[in-house]
């Protein structure tokens, strides 16, 4: 399959996931939080994927789980990108002492291993899904600041910026109307790859038992299936579907990421036939 077809195919899959998340209440046959049948039921016409140890419908959980997983991933990526883009533009554009202070702060921050810190912080605060998204976004934002900053430094002295300054544009306007549009390609690439990263991180946190106990997401489903007997009894319809859901979404996002990188940076594609 050529890269272009793969790109549209991944787009299709990603938007299918989004559609499932948006229309979850219409698609799901049962309420995922209430008992809808006898526990550990095998798949049949009533429960296409059976029920879990407390008798909740697994298919409905899977459908509603899409919602939570996407909220965490997209939310964290949105927060992380807005922080890193604004910090990157500000430090790159102004430079000087402000740049120095922010960059040294980030240097110190980056020596701290991120994942353990995230674990401790989610443990410390009550882990609601929005808080988890904010925590991941804020902690993860430092890694991209440097990338955006160097881009801004590259165009800071370009003649079109000088021209804008000459006609009396204020700094805010230059940053938002002249510099930001030039960052859009690299921001898009970063955004897609960080959505993927944060989705896997969020599912991973839930898998370790740090998820929000008030909602169901795929990580918690895998964890429950793994720890309360679904695995040992060979109930594959409990364990495999959430895992495959993660894998499908993550593959689609990975291909979207690489494709958009090539789209904006044709040099990567140069050697291809």
């Amino acid at each position: 399959m050529s890269r272009k077809k793969l790109f549209w195919f991944s787009c299709l899959i990603f938007f299918a996931y989004v559609a499932v998340a948006v229309f979850a209440p219409l698609i799901a046959p049962y309420d995922p939080y209430t008992v809808s049948g006898p526990p550990l039921r095998q798949p049949d016409s009533m429960h296409p994927l059976g029920t879990n140890a407390t008798g909740q419908d697994i298919l409905s959980q899977l459908i509603f789980g899409t919602r939570i997983t996407l909220i965490i991933g997209l939310g964290a990526a949105l927060i992380s990108c807005s922080i890193s883009v604004s910090l990157g533009i500000l430090t790159g554009y102004y430079g000087g002492a402000f740049d120095g202070i922010v960059m040294r702060g980030i240097d110190i921050f980056m020596t701290i291993p991120l994942f353990p810190l995230l674990l401790v912080l989610t443990l410390f605060f009550t882990p609601g899904i929005f808080l988890v998204a904010i925590l991941m976004g804020v902690l993860g934002s430092t890694h991209s600041v440097r990338v955006f900053r160097s881009q801004v430094m590259g165009i800071r002295n370009a003649s079109f910026i000088e021209g804008a300054r000459a006609i009396g544009s204020r700094d805010m306007r230059i940053m938002s109307h002249h510099i930001l549009p030039n960052l859009i390609p690299i921001v898009t690439v970063r955004f897609v790859s960080s959505v993927l990263h944060y989705i896997l991180l969020g599912v991973g946190l839930s898998f370790l038992g740090l998820g929000d106990p008030m909602v169901i997401d795929w990580g918690q489903m895998i964890e429950q299936a793994y720890s309360s007997g679904g695995f040992a009894l060979g109930l594959w319809w409990w364990l495999i579907p959430p895992g495959l859901a993660v894998v499908g979404l993550s593959l689609a996002l990975a291909h979207l990421g690489y494709s958009s990188e090539e789209f904006y940076n044709p040099r990567l594609e140069k050697n291809r036939y």
């Binding site: 353990p116 410390f124 894998v247 690489y258």
Partner: protein
């Protein structure tokens, strides 16, 4: 499920814990002091080699961690070395032949490996090889025969095989992508063209000329990978019940055993700092251009 160890576990023993017992617990662990005093005490003790006492094991944290570190290294050392090696070789070759059929195939396979989280690879591996094919044990580090014959090296290696394979898979994919990118920029350099013009064989140019220069950015990343002992193996160890630092972390998280967690993360941070230092010291050995000052 937030909360500290006491509200989580001690109180769940029937909610009848007498007030004196609670206060005694708080007093013994110094939890009745103000926060800043606790912190000063903690820092002082760290430098004295006292990393605190684990709530759930009632043991000093440091020996506990060092004991588990050994088991983690058993699976992590071979998999990191092999993973970096495989990633570098395939990445270098793929970048060298960029655009070819082999490159595209490897690239797409690696995207797939990387997109799938390692805990899912681990679960799939256990399901396939242990549960259905029964080729490997489902988890743990040794068989039941440990009761009669003690720990056998072969038996431990047999149990370590699947976790090591899964770790190799994820480490390889990560290194592959960086190595390929690094190689893509080197291929266009003039000295490669010069070497070609001299009529040197392709393989010689790849391994002797190009490889030397692509390796530099990888060194930093590779040394940092050695340091990410906990992050690297937390999921894999949890799925395989391998008794290392990763599983210890998961257990400590579930029990809200904060002193133990603090100890583990302190060790992790120290390792990252050491790894950064090692990378800085390795650089001049690999790249003579960085050697300045003292030599001249």
């Amino acid at each position: 499920m937030p909360g500290d160890y006491i509200t989580n576990y001690l109180l769940s023993l029937g909610n009848v814990l007498p007030k004196e017992t609670l206060n005694e617990f708080y007093r013994e662990f110094g939890l009745n002091l103000p926060l800043y005093e606790q912190y000063i005490l903690y820092i002082k003790n760290i430098f004295a080699g006292e990393w605190g006492y684990s709530y759930q094991y009632s043991l000093p944290v440091l020996p506990l961690i060092l004991n588990k570190l050994f088991w983690t290294l058993i699976i992590l050392l071979p998999s990191t070395i092999l993973g970096i090696f495989f990633g570098m070789v395939t990445g270098a070759y793929s970048g060298w032949k960029s655009g070819s059929k082999q490159d595209l195939t490897t690239f797409n396979i690696m995207i797939m490996i990387r997109a799938v989280p390692d805990y899912w690879w681990a679960i799939v591996a256990v399901y396939l090889f242990s549960y259905y094919l029964k080729l490997f044990p489902i988890g743990g580090y040794t068989g039941i025969n440990i009761l009669y014959s003690g720990i056998g090296v072969i038996d431990v290696l047999y149990h370590a095989f699947l976790p090591v394979c899964v770790l190799i898979l994820s480490i390889t994919a990560g290194n592959y992508y960086m190595m390929r990118n690094s190689m893509l920029s080197v291929v266009e350099e003039d000295y490669i063209t010069t070497a070609r013009a001299k009529g040197l064989p392709e393989n010689y140019i790849l391994w002797r000329h190009a490889m030397k220069n692509t390796i530099l950015p990888i060194v930093t990343i590779a040394t940092l990978q050695f340091a990410s002992i906990i992050t690297g193996s937390i999921f894999v160890e949890t799925v395989f019940s391998w008794p290392g630092l990763g599983l210890l972390t998961t257990e400590a998280l579930r029990a809200r055993d904060l002193p133990l967690l603090e100890g583990i993360f302190l060790l992790d941070t120290l390792l990252v700092i050491i790894a950064n230092l090692v990378a800085d010291l390795l650089y001049p050995l690999l790249d003579p251009r960085i050697r300045t000052g003292a030599d001249e």
